[in-house]
Symmetry: C2
Subunit: 166 residues, 2 copies
């Protein structure tokens, strides 16, 4: 029984390690200025909220978070702890041809990432930003606009627009 328990512990540790490794692993080139990369497996992350963006972008969006970010939302922990990662996935908004009142995701457009590291990104509210199109980071000019907008509009919510959809 004791050996089984040790086995269980070892197994749980192994699983925890794999889960942690999966979350911190990233893919592709880093964003300019911030060096933020696309986190691997973000499409499996838990939903924080959907959103819609009007013309000219005309997009449907979904913001998901890693376990650290989701936990902070659930506990209403503010500011978000280091290690929080938020990913906004965006698609063109397309009228459904099967149900007229509905709009659904069309082609993918951008994936936008925010990574909390209060030391590394101390000059930008503790957040690093990355904006990706087809897996490749957008140019430096686009990345210069991220923090100014978040700072001007949602500084009181730790620079994060998205609220939990209850």
């Amino acid at each position: 029984m004791k050996r089984l328990f040790v086995g269980l512990l070892a197994s749980a540790s192994a699983i925890a390690f794999v889960a942690l490794a999966a979350e911190t692993k990233t893919m592709g080139d880093p964003s300019p200025i911030y060096g933020v990369t696309l986190p691997e497996g973000y499409r499996q992350w838990q939903l924080i909220a959907p959103a819609e963006e009007a013309e000219p972008l005309n997009e449907l969006r979904a913001v998901v978070g890693n376990a650290t970010a989701i936990d902070a939302y659930r506990k209403r922990q503010m500011p978000f702890p280091d290690g929080s990662v938020l990913v906004k996935v965006a698609w063109k908004r397309v009228r459904s041809d099967e149900f007229e009142p509905a709009s659904v995701p069309g082609d993918a457009t951008t994936v936008q990432v925010m990574v909390k590291d209060s030391k590394k990104y101390a000059s930008t509210g503790g957040w690093g930003f990355g904006r990706f199109v087809d897996g490749a980071p957008a140019d430096e000019e686009q990345h210069r606009t991220c923090f100014a907008c978040h700072e001007a509009r949602v500084m009181a919510h730790d620079y994060v627009f998205t609220r939990w959809a209850h």
Copy 2:
């Protein structure tokens, strides 16, 4: 080593069992006609796609699925296997007061559930339906409309509107 391996297996089985139990556990009263209940923990399920519904409902929506349903989407497995559960969560669509072009989730409206059981629901394409408001099932009349609409519009996609958002 052998004992550790047995321990790992036992642990994996225990975890699989817990995961399965968590997925099949439900809460609240069942829907009329179908006896479908709200699956516990659906808010943690993986996103299939967001959607938007025009006036008069004016809603933002997110469709999530349990592991069986997500696996079927990823493998493009059609029809969905028994045990697949889809949940559509809907909120009023509200203009963001922090960023004008954005609309975000307001109050929750309905939660709609589809459960695949090809024997139990043989007369409705293998799907049972549940529509819930504040956790309580809607009336029988509303549930009479579910299958007729799905049958008329998306029979060729195993009666499911939502496509995977790539």
